[in-house]
Symmetry: C2
Subunit: 158 residues, 2 copies
């Protein structure tokens, strides 16, 4: 699995984004149409989450439609396919950095630089499932989003 901390570190982002895109193409095949592909590329330009309207603007710049459904449909598709994630706390979307690997990660959002990383969440889901089971509740899907400081910003601010 890709190093989850990558989002917070200086790295060869071209390679990093390219890798993800290649894997996405393998997963999604022909259904990764131009709008959808471009949408994913837009999300992959940074490790930030991006609002639908921000994405829409960039899609329009690229010659696609400029009405909200254009962006929402592409984003919804990507989320469905596990190629992107929706960050509810931010009303925004972020590219999935390790598509294909089944996961429902915990999101770590840096309040300083706005970068978003995906942390492995197996232990978290186990704890959640147990807490829920104690009450008789069956968890189907869960989202875990944490706000805090990434290592780079923590260093800078101290």
């Amino acid at each position: 699995m890709t190093d989850p901390a990558l989002a917070f570190e200086a790295h060869d982002h071209r390679t990093c984004a390219g890798d993800v895109l290649t894997r996405a193409e393998a997963i999604s095949g022909a259904r990764l149409t131009p709008v959808r592909r471009r949408t994913l590329e837009i999300l992959l330009e940074s490790h930030r989450a991006m609002g639908a309207y921000e994405v829409l603007e960039k899609l329009a710049d690229a010659g696609f439609g400029n009405q909200p459904p254009v962006a929402y449909r592409a984003l919804d598709y990507l989320v469905d396919q596990g190629l992107a994630h929706r960050i509810r706390r931010l009303n925004a979307f972020a590219a999935c950095m390790h598509p294909g690997e089944a996961h429902s990660p915990a999101f770590l959002i840096c309040k300083s630089c706005a970068a978003v990383a995906e942390a492995p969440a197996a232990a978290i889901h186990a704890a959640l499932g147990k807490a829920a089971a104690d009450i008789g509740f069956t968890v189907e899907r869960a989202n875990v989003e944490a706000l805090g400081l990434c290592p780079t910003c923590a260093e800078t601010e101290s």
Copy 2:
């Protein structure tokens, strides 16, 4: 601590809501003004989360202002004081069922009856903190929201 499963079971809701309101008054004192108190009462009418505009409507019925800021301000206050929680997944708010006890619970949202319960989340936060620390990330606040089936609905649907 109050039984977290209460939200999903038939119970004497008058008493349950009354207790919470009494505790809220003790915590908030004079600053629990009429609008705020009424807002909390509205949230306490059910164990569901309620949108700001739904709350606003009921506030207007009670003779308070009927513009969005009226509801948002009261709700924000309650959230600040730990008397209510914001459920981001639903863009909605729910009364805190055990105010005073410091907590950042995990929310269990029944997809069938829409009831929301607060599960103890100490173990979840521990797991999250550890996963984050592995990446060098410092968690400040986190929200954990799970969608699934409550025990009552699970029984009904089977």
